[in-house]
């Protein structure tokens, strides 16, 4: 599988260098008052323009919620309990629905995991895309329809003119996802958030969709945030990686580095639990235990009950996310040990050989 990442981690469009979107100590809380639970417990991350940042973690790590919060689409009951989200210089963490409207679609777009449920089953696909042009760009019916067909062609849907009159259930999974992508990108937003875009698809189709996303990104200078279980997808497409566990960031850095020389035992565990072509026949080692229930997060380092390297300090002191190298950070008290080789992973320059899901 060829490495489709642009060389040197991407060529950002020339700007003042500020990240397009950045999260600062974001806390997302479920419920109010006494029974409130923090599902995301202080996430900070910066997404530079023109790059692709992948956010990986197990289910329950809070990665999807983090993504949703960046569009103001948190599910009912979940609120921003603290911290900030700044998009292109504008704080957006506490905008009302009405204030969000002009931004969505135009500045930021999102595609979701299950295209079958994410598309309206009773409206023709072409009309759903055209809705963007009619309502947000003020185009007339016919013109909007034409533009919708154009965008379907751009994402590689064959016979687009005719297919635009079909309903979502008449498409295959991959085609539906293409429709979603066409829809999300129709007004040329600057940021695309992809929440597990390939998880519901067949393996062969997954690759196609990822290629499409990269192609679209390069064509438009898009900034992309990719939420995924799938380390393989991440390694092939992302410039940098953020690893989340139990609602916090535990490691971040350029994807190549993080995946070949992880600086956190959790990341090591993730890499080990995934089939690796370089070690055929090697046993998969699942990380023992389960991610913690948000109501009963372990003291100190949340990972300590499952960590092979856990020491006393891990039980009592919460490790801060601190730098462990150029553009790399890790929230482990003993990150240097982990990087230094306690991880026992074979060295390689090409992390694209890693495949599989978390």
């Amino acid at each position: 599988m060829t490495d489709t990442r642009p060389p040197h981690g991407g060529t950002p469009t020339p700007t003042d260098g500020a990240p397009l979107i950045s999260l600062t100590d974001l806390r997302l809380t479920l419920g109010r008052g006494a029974g409130a639970v923090d599902l995301v417990r202080g996430v900070s991350l910066d997404v530079p323009q023109g790059t692709t940042v992948a956010v990986v973690g197990e289910s329950g790590s809070g990665k999807s919620l983090t993504a949703l919060s960046m569009m103001g689409l948190l599910p009912p009951g979940v609120t921003v309990g603290g911290g900030d989200i700044v998009f292109d210089g504008t704080p957006v963490a506490r905008l009302t629905e009405r204030e969000w409207q002009p931004l969505r679609g135009r500045q930021l777009g999102m595609i979701f995991q299950d295209p079958l449920s994410a598309l309206n089953p009773c409206i023709r696909v072409g009309d759903q895309i055209a809705e963007m042009f009619r309502l947000r760009a003020g185009l007339g019916r016919r013109e909007a329809r034409d533009r919708a067909v154009e965008s379907m062609v751009e994402v590689g849907i064959p016979d687009a003119e005719r297919r635009a009159r079909s309903y979502p259930h008449e498409f295959s999974g991959g085609m539906r996802q293409r429709v979603m992508i066409a829809m999300a990108l129709s007004l040329q937003p600057r940021l695309l958030i992809a929440d597990e875009p390939t998880t519901a698809l067949d393996v062969t189709v997954q690759a196609q969709i990822m290629r499409l996303l990269i192609a679209r990104k390069q064509a438009r200078g898009l900034t992309m945030i990719l939420i995924s279980h799938d380390l393989g997808v991440v390694s092939r497409s992302a410039d940098s990686v953020v690893v989340m566990y139990a609602g916090r960031v535990v490691e971040s850095g350029p994807s190549r580095e993080v995946l070949t020389r992880p600086a956190h035992p959790y990341t090591v565990g993730l890499m080990r639990s995934v089939p690796d072509r370089r070690r055929p026949g090697a046993a998969l080692e699942a990380i023992p235990g389960q991610p913690p229930d948000p109501r009963t997060v372990p003291s100190g380092c949340a990972f300590h009950p499952r960590c092979p390297m856990a020491r006393d300090r891990c039980r009592t002191e919460v490790p801060a996310l601190r730098p462990v190298g150029p553009a790399r950070a890790s929230a482990c008290h003993f990150a240097d040990e982990v990087v230094g080789g306690g991880a026992n992973l074979p060295e390689t320059n090409d992390a694209s050989e890693v495949s599989g899901h978390v």
């Binding site: 479920l30 599902l39 289910s59 329950g60 979940v78 229930d293």
Partner: protein
């Protein structure tokens, strides 16, 4: 009462999910991104108990009321006809709720009518429920042609508005308490059968039933010991809901003149009688209806509360 809302059908699942806590929320499934914990099992709200108490009073009143009251519900007393509530009778007594067009005390009428309503309500549900239970068990447990036969029969019957069927049967058989009960029970069994069948189907596929079969337990034993217990709760929920409906159906039939014979008091019949006297004696038509409405609403409350109690998910 040996009914256990925490039916055996749920037990195996709960054992793996959360062994220690009896009714506490289980661990969130790994799929739940924004993990919403399940609510704790709800107690029956206090108002359900109040409602139950009210119903107990009603049943008590139905059973003993007519005996306690000095006034007859059926003897005519023309000199005292059409007296408003609280009026004094010629013999010095007080008609608490007034008298009707034949001088009969309305309170006595209402109490006598309550007897009919309660009897019909309970009998219909008991008979229809029993028939539905048996047929539903057979259909759900044995499956195959038995199931097809029973289900098709039920579907066919439901395809036709049940009240019309009841009207027809009651009308043709003639006015009598038994006939109403028959007519109504015939139209109700399908609902109960469906509920029981659904329960039976779920349970009979579970492993512990399989193992009982393998060990050599006979059909009857399996049905009674394993399948039946899990059918109680939904059956009771359906039953409590149907009691109110059966009472309204009986009142409607009596209103139309197709229900109880003229000699017997029924709320529906009293309301119908009062129609000619709406301007002069509004209480005749109004008060029995209030009683009926009250009982139906309260039964509905109890039924809802019970359903919420046995199936917390339905309350969400």
């Amino acid at each position: 009462m040996t009914v256990n809302p925490a039916s055996p059908a749920q037990a195996p699942e709960r054992a793996t999910a959360d062994p220690g806590t009896p009714a506490g929320p289980g661990t969130p499934t790994p799929e739940a991104n924004s993990a919403v914990p399940a609510p704790a099992r709800r107690r029956m709200p206090p108002r359900a108990w109040v409602a139950l108490g009210f119903l107990a009073l009603v049943v008590l009143g139905a059973a003993v009321g007519p005996l306690l009251l000095p006034y007859s519900a059926t003897e005519t007393d023309l000199p005292n006809r059409l007296l408003p509530p609280g009026a004094r009778l010629s013999d010095g007594g007080v008609a608490l709720l007034g008298t009707d067009q034949l001088g009969r005390d309305l309170l006595a009428q209402i109490l006598a009518g309550s007897r009919v309503s309660v009897i019909v309500g309970l009998a219909t549900v008991l008979i229809g429920g029993f028939a539905g239970l048996v047929l539903g068990l057979l259909a759900g447990y044995f499956g195959g042609w038995i199931d097809t036969l029973i289900s098709r029969l039920g579907d066919a019957q439901l395809a036709f508005p049940s009240v019309l069927l009841a009207i027809l049967i009651a009308g043709v058989l003639g006015p009598s308490l038994t006939n109403i009960i028959i007519a109504l029970a015939v139209t109700r069994w399908v609902i109960f059968a469906r509920v029981v069948r659904a329960s039976a189907l779920t349970v009979q596929g579970l492993e512990y039933v399989e193992s009982a079969r393998v060990v050599g337990a006979g059909h009857v034993r399996i049905l009674v010991r394993y399948i039946l217990p899990s059918c109680w709760a939904p059956l009771l929920v359906a039953g409590t809901a149907q009691i109110g409906l059966a009472m309204v159906a009986e009142a409607s039939l009596s209103f139309l003149g197709l229900g109880v014979p003229v000699t017997q008091a029924s709320w529906g019949a009293t309301i119908s009688d009062g129609r000619d006297y709406l301007s002069s004696a509004w209480w005749i038509s109004t008060l029995p209806g209030v009683a009926l409405a009250l009982v139906v609403v309260v039964v509905g409350l109890v039924s809802d509360a019970y359903r919420d109690h046995t199936d917390p998910r339905a309350a969400l």
